[in-house]
């Protein structure tokens, strides 16, 4: 499925993921986690990879492989290197809390695996997996 790189389509992306997860036998708690991880991933693409680009789009695929849901997102925006993203300090005081990096952190917590590959030719490819149960 191709989605425009606009926040207005996050609802559709979450619904798309939820439908396949529901058919794949995931429970409601897991489905919420999958939706949140997909939302955070798509938000990062729209906000960072396509920053300042108005008519971009990106591909989202979502498939069951055995008892595991595999979500992939491919964009052709600016290259993304997750090691450049600092881990948020979750115990800092209110005044010192940084608000960046939280999306990626949540994705890693919610999913079993989060993997990015960035290539100048094919763009950014994100693969996230979560096993049922």
């Amino acid at each position: 499925m191709t989605f425009p790189a606009q926040f207005e389509f996050l609802d559709e992306i979450r619904e798309f993921v939820a439908q396949i997860a529901r058919e794949g036998g995931f429970n409601e708690k897991e489905i919420y986690s999958l939706q949140l991880a997909a939302d955070e991933a798509a938000t990062n693409i729209i906000e960072h990879a396509y920053k300042g680009v108005s008519d971009a789009d990106f591909d989202v695929a979502c498939d069951m492989r055995g008892d595991t849901l595999v979500i992939t997102m491919r964009d052709t925006g600016r290259p993304f290197n997750p090691s450049n993203i600092k881990r948020p300090n979750l115990t800092a005081d209110l005044s010192e809390r940084k608000i960046g990096g939280l999306g990626l952190y949540l994705m890693r917590k919610l999913m079993d695996e989060v993997h990015y590959v960035s290539s100048p030719i094919t763009g950014n490819l994100l693969t996230m997996t979560k096993r049922r149960g």
Partner: protein
Amino acid sequence: MEVTTQEFKHCDLIKVTGRVDSSTAPAFSKALDKANENGHFKIAIDMSELEYMSSAGFRALLASQRNCKRYNRGELVLVAVPVRIREALELAGFTELFKTFDDPITAVGSF
């Protein structure tokens, strides 16, 4: 998403319903800012009919909490946080930054 603000003598009760994500968080932030602009820094957020909140919503809460607590002039508290949203807030390490209440009456009464 819908946001409604009810002004009480000692605090504002802001009810947010539906889904808060990067698309709707700006409108949520605006409602929080508006309370602050009116000089109201004691805020209870009623989440009882909130279905979903991404980190975009967490950021809005964090920014507002900072603003409310400045100069000890107030605080933002959360009310009736649905279980899924509570779990996500916990993952993000946000639960210790906000007092939580089970119902609006207790929250409003705490100010």
